[in-house]
């Protein structure tokens, strides 16, 4: 099992390295540069700025310097738009916000999506199933940029304590977390239903029922563990995506998280910030997938035996 995990970790490091390398060259191929503004800069000033940040060097030299600074000095570079501010400081400030939002969003998604999927599977092809899956499909189809302002205008404006947008009191987190949570709950509900429906039709469940097991016991003790496997596989990347921020939700609720940095850095060609954010996202994805692998090993005995073999 440890060997399996180490192998996955090694693969993860490789993935992050490739991701970072591709991003490095792709962002430099985009038209424009970080110093473009409303006014056209005189050529001598543009050259001065480019050379100040080593951007006049060839892409390979820049690439070498980038990794050298990270590995030798732990320096992810400065923001090219907010000059004088290290990229690491910007990420360190935004990450806790996105993390909090992501954790709450995922908790809501799991609390709503998994029970909904179980209920749906239990009442398969009957009206509760149709109703729940209809709602789940609506949750998948309606985009966040519709849900978020809708929540803001209805709940945020009229429910005392809730905040329409902003990040200035404890309850500000509720609506953005709810938006993120419900969208993911819809996916989780469908995945859980699929997994559970398949398990509930298997022989061992029929045997359990024939032996007189109560329905709830069948559902929770016999079927749940295997039925959750597809949902658990989804949870890892979804969690990583949630805690690295959502541009739409952060914009609609004015949340100072990583999602805003991601999009603004790309639009502004803030090369080092894009690199830093992609690195952060890559590492989180790898870690989340590793956690999923661990969870799957715990839930699925067959994987354990394959792993040890």
């Amino acid at each position: 099992m440890i060997r399996l995990l180490l192998r996955r970790l090694g693969q993860g490091v490789l993935v992050v390295f490739v991701l970072e390398t591709i991003t490095f060259f792709l962002v430099r191929m985009l038209p424009g540069n970080p110093f473009l503004g409303e006014r056209k800069l005189p050529e001598h000033i543009m050259q001065q700025l480019q050379s100040l940040y080593g951007l006049e060097e060839s892409a390979w030299v820049q690439y070498w310097n980038y990794w050298k600074n990270i590995l030798l000095h732990g320096d992810f570079g400065p923001s090219l738009i907010r000059e004088g501010v290290p990229v690491s400081e910007m990420i360190a400030q935004a990450f806790p916000v996105s993390f909090l939002l992501g954790v709450l969003g995922m908790a809501i998604a799991m609390a709503v999506g998994i029970p909904a999927g179980m209920l749906s599977a239990y009442y398969r092809n009957r009206w509760p199933d149709a109703l729940l899956m209809c709602v789940a499909m609506a949750g998948i189809c309606i985009p966040a940029f519709v849900v978020a302002p809708l929540f803001g205008m209805t709940l945020g404006m009229h429910v005392p304590g809730l905040s329409v947008a902003g990040w200035d009191d404890a309850l500000c987190v509720v609506l953005p977390a709810l938006t993120l949570g419900l969208i993911n709950a819809a996916y989780l509900a469908r995945l859980t239903r699929g997994g559970m429906a398949e398990v509930l039709s298997q022989d061992f469940v029929r045997t359990a029922k024939a032996k007189g097991c109560r329905p709830l016991r069948v559902l929770f003790v016999h079927a749940l563990r295997s039925g959750l496997l597809p949902a658990v596989s989804y949870l890892g990347p979804a969690f990583a995506a949630l805690i690295t921020g959502s541009f739409v939700v952060e914009t609609c609720f004015q949340v100072p998280g990583m999602g805003l940095h991601f999009v603004n850095a790309t639009t502004d060609r803030d090369y080092f910030l894009i690199q830093g954010l992609v690195l952060c996202y890559g590492v989180l994805i790898v870690l989340a997938n590793l956690c999923v692998d661990l969870a799957l090993l715990v839930l699925n005995p067959r994987l354990r035996s394959q792993g040890s073999a």
Binding site: P31, G32, G84, D169
Partner: protein, 549 residues
């Protein structure tokens, strides 16, 4: 025992709920902040830099103006009127090409005296050939500033001198009667030379002196805290020379990019002043809070650049025809829901200047279209026959896309001319525009200072921001004459002549002059309509009103 636990748990739950919902204080954030004397302002975007030599964005300028003060300061109510700032008095020679400023006894926020040398240091830093000052051109009216910036002359040749700690002498390239308006821009502010030197020196672009913990300023406020994409807060500077006039206990600038979110936040009691109500929300905002809805003139022109190097746009008749066929009134109604004025000239009227466009305004759109068809036929494209398909480049902003679609339909219906819309994200758009890789480009220009030169000088044939490939010796000559003119009236006439020449040749299609639409709480006073949107925040007052948002 079990009952006691339930009671305890209930008590804890109630306490937590009360804490979370703040049931002890039902006031909105804006009301609470007003009670604390803190002004909440929506500031459009996360500021890029608070160093006046690295900043370029409007959002940065608003904060810098609260933190630093130049030689003069603006009036809160009358656009273009200036009051003594760091300079207590000034005089100039007959042709306004040499100015002498006498500085008051003032202090930086760390107690060091503000000296004339701080101004000279600031100007040298922004212009230094190795600093890479993006807005260095703002100081080019200073004698020899441009060659020094290009590294062709030493600093000693630049027209800045400091005979003593309290006297600053500025020698200009030519008569500059409008210098006081220029001085209101943050590029002319001083910087604390001692603090800049302490944190890396003059040429260090990553200098930490603008971080809240090291900030030193001479303005009404000092920097307090900055959380990226959340807020930036300032508090009063006790060493400011007019500290007794500053009544607010702080200002929070909120970088809210999305106008919909910002307007919702205003109505949710989260802001005192917003930056922008988007066109789709204008009707709702004006209806819901008519007394709080503001619509101010703004020193900004929305226009299309035409690439005059590429055929068929190299023919002035074609350019003129395209311009005539645009129904500006309909455009203003459809695109910005009336929040603008149809523009038939480039420079927005103001500062005693304005091109007489009354004849054009009186003319019916039908007559304009007929002339457009005639011009197009003369250019060899009767009814649009044989006219190549052009590309109309816009940014990805909704307003710009809607505007492009509306104009596309107008040209197609009225002239038989077909254009394809190319929507680009910001950096790609700017790169294409500045490299002249476009046919027609959606553009805007807002004035840095209240003077028509900030608009008209764009069309100098050698101007870096021209980006149309158009140039005219007659227009250049008129601009040169304006630059040599010491007489204010004569100078404006020369500028108007240059603009008329440009308008006849139509390298651009002026579309409309913007208006700023925003919300202002009744708790706010001392905030008046200003075309440059450069409000002195020390004059803004807050009066808590518990029953209003």
């Amino acid at each position: 025992m079990r009952g006691v636990n339930v009671e305890k748990a209930t008590l804890w739950l109630v306490c937590a709920a009360c804490f979370l919902t703040g049931c002890g204080d039902e006031r909105s954030s804006a009301q609470r902040a007003a009670g604390d004397g803190v002004l909440l302002i929506g500031n459009n975007q996360e500021p890029q830099n608070l160093d006046p030599h690295k900043a370029t964005a409007v959002a940065d300028g608003k904060i810098i103006s609260a933190l630093l003060e130049g030689l003069v300061r603006p009036d809160a109510r009358v656009e273009g009127q200036v009051h003594p700032g760091m300079a207590v008095s000034w005089e100039h020679n007959a042709d306004a090409s040499e100015w002498v400023f006498h500085l008051r006894e003032a202090q930086w926020s760390d107690g060091a005296p503000v000296r004339a040398q701080d101004f000279a240091y600031a100007y040298r830093r922004l212009l230094h050939p190795q600093f890479g000052g993006k807005y260095a051109e703002m100081l080019y009216p200073l004698k020899n500033a441009a060659p020094y910036n290009r590294g062709e002359l030493p600093w000693e040749k630049v027209g800045v001198s400091t005979p003593d700690d309290r006297t600053l002498v500025l020698r200009m390239e030519g008569p500059t009667p409008h210098l006081l308006h220029l001085l209101l821009h943050f590029t002319w502010y001083p910087v604390p030379s001692h603090a800049v030197e302490q944190h890396g020196g003059m040429l260090d672009r990553s200098s930490a002196w603008t971080r809240p913990e090291y900030w030193v300023g001479n303005g009404a406020y000092v920097l307090e805290q900055r959380v990226f994409n959340d807020f930036l807060s300032v508090r009063p500077n006790p060493r400011y020379w007019r500290a007794h006039e500053v009544q607010n206990r702080g200002i929070r600038f909120l970088p809210i990019v999305n106008g919909y979110t910002e307007t919702r936040m205003y109505f949710g009691g989260k802001l005192h002043i917003t930056n922008n109500v988007p066109p789709e929300m204008l009707e709702m905002a004006a209806h819901r809070a008519p007394a709080e809805f503001c619509r101010d003139d703004y020193y900004c022109t929305i226009f299309y650049r035409l690439n005059t190097v590429r055929p068929p746009l190299d023919d002035a008749r074609v350019r003129r025809a395209l311009s005539l066929a645009v129904d500006r009134d309909m455009l203003v109604q459809r695109v910005v829901r009336g929040a603008g004025k149809a523009a038939y000239a480039f420079t927005p009227p103001g500062a005693g200047y304005g091109i007489d466009d009354s004849a054009e305004r009186r003319r019916s759109q039908k007559a304009r279209v007929e002339e457009a068809r005639r011009l197009l036929a003369e250019a060899g494209y009767p009814g649009g026959k044989g006219f190549p398909t052009l590309e109309l480049m816009t940014t990805s902003r909704d307003v710009q896309k809607l505007m492009a679609e509306t104009i596309q339909a107008m040209w197609s219906e009225e002239l038989g001319v077909h254009v394809e819309i190319r929507s680009c994200e910001w950096s790609a758009y700017k790169a294409a525009q500045q490299n002249m890789d476009y046919d027609i480009s959606s553009s805007s220009w807002s004035g840095d200072y209240l003077d028509p030169a900030t608009f008209v000088e764009l069309w100098k044939s050698t101007g870096g921001n021209n980006c149309t490939g158009w140039g005219s010796p007659a227009c250049d000559a008129a601009l040169d004459a304006a630059a040599r003119s010491a007489d204010v009236g004569q100078r404006l006439l020369h500028l108007a002549e240059a603009e008329q020449i440009m308008l006849r040749e139509s390298p651009v299609i002026p579309l409309y002059w913007s208006e700023r639409t925003y919300m202002k709480s009744p708790m706010v006073s001392g905030w008046y309509p200003l075309m440059l949107d450069n409000h002195p925040l020390d004059a803004v007052r807050l009066t808590p009103a518990p029953d209003k948002p």
